[in-house]
């Protein structure tokens, strides 16, 4: 039975969080399919990396170790993965839906003519019957993902091409060590056989950590605060919730004028107009000027101590209470109900 493969992303010499999550999922899939779980780690100075990988239940770890392979660049990593997959013929290949996986995945799928589904939220094994061709398929990978701006959930399959490739975002799958003493084998790849000089035409000039600019317009989820949040410190709760949900923090004019947050986060007539999937209004009374900038949001949750706050009239959920009590509970129960 052909294996399940996971591409291991290396960040500053460490196995990336998303890769550990995918190893956990990969192990479950491999067990269900009664096949091996294999992993491929590409980078530099990877000695000992297996200690962080085998415990997830990895049977074979392929390692390509070379100075020129770190930090990640597209072409050499593609060449190695493509050649290895041509040799090993995995049935499933998983990668993180990160800037690395979403750069590498499509390139590999194009070279191998295998289907790739981006940003899956669930991966399940199942069967399929093609009524037109009168063909039955067993043990396919159902790749489930939101599409159309999150308005539909699609189940995608790759009936005929292998590997069945999927990317998954960090935090979507659960990370769990199978057995700290799990024994796998290492296969060191001869990098010169898997790459050629033309793979190294892209030169890395600079690389550093830098915070992104605020992008409330493009955010699917906005946690917005008003004067009722009460203080700059309390706004930290909004940032925490936004981070957990993968959203951005917005604010009413009153909160901006009070110095709780920067002007770039202001929503409303004199700020930005937003239409996210979910708008969580915290301590915002809902003056018309603010509502003009957010009332087209697909869903609105209003949290306010005043049960008569104007914002409640356009909300889908009204929670009467204190932001400082409610936001930590939202974080707690979000975490408890995912994974």
């Amino acid at each position: 039975m052909n294996s399940v493969f996971v591409y291991i992303e290396i960040e500053a010499g460490q196995v990336a969080e998303v890769s550990m999550e995918l190893l956990t999922k990969g192990r479950a899939l491999a067990t269900e399919l009664k096949c091996k779980l294999e992993a491929i780690a590409i980078g530099f100075k990877l000695d000992g990396i297996e200690k962080d990988i085998f415990p997830y239940g990895v049977d074979v770890l392929h390692i390509a170790d070379d100075k020129r392979l770190a930090p990640y660049t597209t072409l050499p990593h593609t060449s190695i993965v493509v050649k290895l997959f041509q040799e090993e013929k995995p049935q499933i290949a998983l990668m993180g839906a990160s800037s690395v996986g979403r750069d590498l995945g499509p390139r590999v799928s194009s070279a191998l003519h295998s289907g790739l589904t981006a940003d899956c939220t669930s991966l399940v094994i199942g069967d399929h019957e093609d009524k037109k061709l009168n063909k039955e398929y067993t043990d396919l990978l159902y790749q489930i993902r939101p599409a159309f701006g999150g308005n539909i959930i699609a189940t995608i399959i790759n009936p005929d091409c292998r590997p069945q490739m999927a990317t998954v975002r960090e935090g979507v799958m659960k990370k769990e060590i199978l057995d700290p003493k799990y024994k796998g084998t290492i296969n060191k790849l001869d990098v010169s056989k898997y790459t050629s000089d033309v793979d190294f035409v892209v030169e890395m000039i600079e690389r550093h950590m830098e915070k992104s600019k605020v992008n409330i317009k493009g955010a699917g989820i906005i946690v917005a605060g008003g004067y009722g949040v009460g203080s700059k410190e309390n706004f930290n709760l909004l940032f925490e919730l936004a981070e957990v949900l993968g959203g951005e923090v917005g604010a009413s004019r009153a909160a901006v004028d009070s110095g709780y947050v920067d002007h770039e986060r202001q929503i409303g007539q004199t700020g930005t107009t937003v239409r996210p999937k979910l708008y969580i209004a915290c301590g915002i009374s809902g003056q018309i000027q603010h509502r003009a900038g957010m009332e087209e949001s697909a869903q609105i949750i209003a949290i306010n101590t005043d049960p008569e706050a104007p914002i409640n009239s356009i909300a889908d959920y009204v929670i009467t209470g204190d932001v400082a009590e409610i936001l930590p509970k939202m974080i707690k129960y979000y975490k408890a109900n995912t994974k």
């Binding site: 499509p106 289907g115 159902y142 599409a147 890395m204 690389r207 830098e210 909300a315 889908d316 209470g321």
Partner: protein
């Protein structure tokens, strides 16, 4: 200076970002009529990067290439109004049902036929699918390097393009030889507005199909002013293996589609108790609002 040949890959998409309460029908299906067709936002960021190269290197030409139905010619005109030089609409029933791989095959074959490019610039991803696959897949099929997640094309010098990339936790500056594919993030500068003179110049720009249904009195225009002709290519104009196109050429198949049913209007009033908060988060996760 002779400038560069730039191709901008663009897509006309339903505006899924602006999904208001009217965008879903009562039965929970998408009300497509309520979603206007727009120039994919990150493709506009891509166009702006191309226009900046044109600003800095006189003689540069920008060609907008899009694949889609006949009406997708709208975004080529939109590109012309903002400073592109010409456009190609790739349209054919044979493309229907294409996944990203079949799409990138069709685009790559078109580019091979058209030839003559130094830099291909596209948006990172389109908002109707959010896959971010077509750019890299085209690059692979053309056998040229790619720089994804670009925020700024900083310099072009001696055949090398310097690009700043915006990643999850930081930035990277890379240098890459031409030709190459660059895909641009939404964090890149917004596209400049339409130019009034260019609107006047190109407002009658049309594809052959559009000309056929338009008022005949205008037809002399297209002979006198060749720049008003938007190229319309079908599978006849490019070399393709028909098995690689459309549904047949797509390794991925859609097995099932579920519409996300939005909550009915009218507020639910809940308390801050643990039970209510637990229930709320469950509901939001189950209807895919979050998570």
């Amino acid at each position: 200076m002779k400038g560069y040949k730039i191709i901008v890959l663009a897509k006309q998409v339903p505006d899924t970002r602006n999904v208001g309460k009217d965008a879903m029908k009562a039965d929970g299906t998408v009300n497509r009529a309520a979603l206007p067709a727009i120039f994919n936002p990150e493709d506009l960021n891509a166009l702006e990067q191309a226009l900046r190269i044109k600003d800095n290197f006189p003689g540069t030409t920008i060609t907008v290439l899009t694949m889609g139905p006949g009406r997708a010619a709208e975004i080529i005109r939109e590109g012309l109004f903002r400073g592109a030089d010409d456009g190609i609409l790739l349209t054919d029933r044979a493309f229907a049902g294409s996944d990203t791989l079949a799409t990138s095959y069709a685009i790559a074959q078109t580019l091979k036929k058209y030839g003559n490019y130094d830099i291909i610039i596209a948006g990172r991803q389109a908002i109707d699918g959010d896959t971010a696959q077509v750019g890299p897949q085209v690059a692979e099929k053309l056998g040229i390097p790619q720089i994804t997640y670009a925020e700024e094309i900083q310099a072009i010098n001696k055949g090398m393009v310097t690009v700043k990339r915006r990643l999850e936790r930081g930035v990277e500056v890379v240098k890459c030889p031409m030709p190459l594919v660059v895909t641009v993030n939404s964090s890149a500068p917004d596209c400049r507005a339409r130019n009034a003179k260019l609107i006047m110049k190109y407002k009658h720009a049309k594809t052959i199909s559009e000309m056929q249904v338009s008022n005949e009195d205008y037809l002399h225009l297209y002979n006198d002013r060749p720049y008003l002709n938007i190229k319309e290519w079908t599978v006849q104009d490019i070399e393709v293996d028909m098995n690689e196109l459309g549904l047949t050429g797509s390794p991925t198949k859609v097995k099932k589609v579920e519409n996300v049913v939005l909550q009915s209007k009218g507020a639910k009033v809940i308390t801050s108790s643990d039970e209510d908060m637990d229930q709320l988060m469950r509901e939001l996760i189950e209807n895919h609002t979050i998570g």
